[in-house]
Symmetry: none
Subunit: 412 residues, 2 copies
């Protein structure tokens, strides 16, 4: 355990633009957030570009960076979704996003979503448990509703294989077996094994009691898997391994939890948490403070600001910020004088755009021996005059870790 510790509070998508309906202010400017403002006033502030000025990032990429990974190691959607449903990945594993589907005996995909199946997918998925094809281990895990994730783990695989999902709105077309997308032994091997896995799934799923029951009830059976978005897990070397600190993340969202797993962090969640404004910020704070007893760095994530940005709800976003402020206030009350707290976001989600933008997000750090600046309000405008200036996500993370004296010297 380190002598100094850090809590990073993440307000997902909190950055915004001035909004006419808010008289030209941003939600952060207008929200009543006394704890965020206290951190800005007593600490040091600045602006952060998660990846590069002007480039929007996804929640996965934003957290990949905040969790201490080189953005060049972004592995694509498949591995991130796999980690999100709790699968463990090794470098070189190939992961696919999947649907359960209903296929007939002629290979026609009658329904890409197997009648939007919601129940019994866990039991059906069990049929592939422990499956080995050649020297490749197969892992298959359901996600929400008809969605699932498939992982192939073994030597000499490649993500260069075609999608077998005919994609919406193409119900009623024949399933196309996977093909190698490049002329390499690894791509050919991956396509061959994937096709065998899909045929085995068809055979085993078709006779599964859940599917027999569905057919008896006039529902489409979930007797097949269609795949898309193949991605190869990269060799993550998160900073927690390089600098020898223990990290944890408290969140509810699968993407964030999955990225935490990929980053060698402890992931902490609770059924009483939600991914919206009705979450329990006090519980989240308590879980974070609890985790701090056994970890050096704890992330506490609130999803609601991003949801409100996507939905173009400026007033909802203000409410979400106030929920975030409650969490931060409870954390502040429980901190000792050797712990830093930082405010950050993974990206901006301006209400008017309803999508992520590449504008920088405000950052603030509070704790022992901080080079305090003149900024007294945590928002996109005031923090642009802050003492930290404008940093990338990776630069900001290094700056934080260094405040706690964890970063190794370069040179001598």
């Amino acid at each position: 355990m380190k002598q100094r510790k850090i809590i990073i509070a993440i307000a997902d998508g909190v950055g915004d633009r001035p909004i006419k309906a808010l008289e030209g202010l941003t939600p952060l400017q207008l929200a009543k957030a006394p704890h965020l403002d206290r951190i800005a006033r007593e600490g040091v502030t600045g602006m952060m570009d998660p990846l590069f000025p002007g480039i929007p990032v996804g929640t996965d990429m934003g957290h990949l960076i905040l969790f201490g990974n080189d953005p060049k190691l972004y592995p694509g959607r498949g591995p991130i979704e796999a980690a999100g449903v709790g699968l463990t990945l090794q470098a070189g594993d190939i992961a696919f996003r999947c649907n359960f589907a209903y296929r007939d005996a002629n290979g026609i995909i009658v329904d890409r979503r197997a009648g939007r199946i919601r129940q019994g997918t866990q039991e059906i998925a069990q049929e592939l448990e422990g499956l080995m094809v050649e020297d490749v281990e197969v892992h298959f895990s359901p996600a929400t509703e008809h969605r699932a994730v498939l992982v192939l783990s073994g030597p000499g695989l490649s993500p260069a294989v075609s999608d077998t999902d005919p994609k919406a709105p193409n119900d009623g077309v024949a399933y196309k077996p996977a093909q190698a997308l490049e002329d390499s032994p690894s791509a050919r091997k991956t396509a061959r094994i994937l096709n065998q896995v899909l045929e085995i799934a068809y055979e085993r799923f078709s006779s599964h009691p859940v599917n027999l029951d569905r057919q008896a009830a006039g529902l489409y059976p979930a007797n097949f898997i269609i795949t898309r978005g193949a991605g190869m897990m990269t060799d993550f070397q998160p900073l927690c391994q390089e600098f020898g600190y223990q990290a944890a993340v408290v969140a509810r969202e699968d993407t964030v939890l999955g990225m935490g797993r990929l980053s060698a962090m402890t992931v902490i969640t609770d059924d009483r948490l939600t991914g919206n404004v009705d979450t329990d910020p006090e519980l989240k704070a308590d879980l974070a403070l609890q985790a701090l007893k056994t970890h050096d760095l704890v992330y506490a994530h609130i999803k609601a600001p991003d949801v409100m940005g996507h939905d173009n709800q400026p007033l909802g976003k203000i409410q979400a910020i106030e929920v975030f402020d409650r969490m931060v206030g409870r954390i502040l009350a429980g901190l000792d004088d050797q712990t830093y707290i930082a405010l950050v976001a993974d990206h901006s989600t301006p209400c008017e755009k309803g999508e992520h933008s590449g504008e920088p997000v405000p950052i603030a750090v509070w704790g022992p021996s901080i080079r305090q600046d003149m900024v007294s309000h945590y928002d996109e405008i005031d923090c642009s005059r802050g003492g930290l200036g404008r940093l990338t996500g990776r630069e900001f993370l290094f700056s934080l870790l260094d405040l706690a004296n964890w970063v190794k010297k370069q040179g001598n």
Copy 2:
């Protein structure tokens, strides 16, 4: 066409240093430029290093970056001059800056500038039209006075060939055929073909009526070509292609227009424009607004501030800034509420230095939903406290494109 649009107004070389003769102020601080100041006051400002802090760049490099290209793809002077005179280049083409010269039968370069020929070069150049040497196509185009550009287009060429120009002040020395500067088939092929082109030019130019007339009038004939500055055209992949927007540039200077051509932009010029303070800024504004009807991004370039910086004319530079301000004012008056306007320069040209410097230039952006800062004057001092902080040229361009919602998300 995009929903939101952008105009970028470029004041070439406008950045300066405090000048004693101006009581310690810069030309931008002293100029009466109400429209530039309005953009600073109602928008967001900052400072921009075109390439890297402290590294001066040329007009070509500065515009290469502003026009959305990776600075690593800078192809050298030859290709840029070739594009400047209207030649179309492909990746892999080799371009040379040339002089028309007068050579005698013994290979002595009697005059490197062919008596500073001004008339008839277009007709002489026609002699090489359609020339093929081996599998290489030859393009040759006159520029101003005795200058010209030669392009070799074909497979397996290299820029690693020696100059055939003996360089000033070496009139009266023998012409040296081009040699390969590295031991490669492509360098040897390029030298061999170049030498054949030069001999063919000597043969054809010598008997050209323009030259026979010059000799009859006691003038040196332009019967030869000498070459320097070989450069290979790189594989430009400008952002307009990556993000699918249509761009145009309104300018008079050949270098800027050529860089626009290389960057897949529409180039717009007019004989009534000049490269100095006597240009017509209202016409330039009208051409830019006109271009905006059929393009998403329009650049409007004014050369005069750079000229005055090179000539160490602080008062002239103030006048040039006021010309720029007139252009910007006219543009502002014609904008709708979905268009951004940005102020920028390609580099600083401090009067006291009379050359480009590596100091950053002020930037400002005005338009819908801007994170307005506290800066109210467009100059090198005030904008250093602006909300954008300090960005490279590429970072600034991405930030602008992202404001208009054109930049693709990284991750998901």
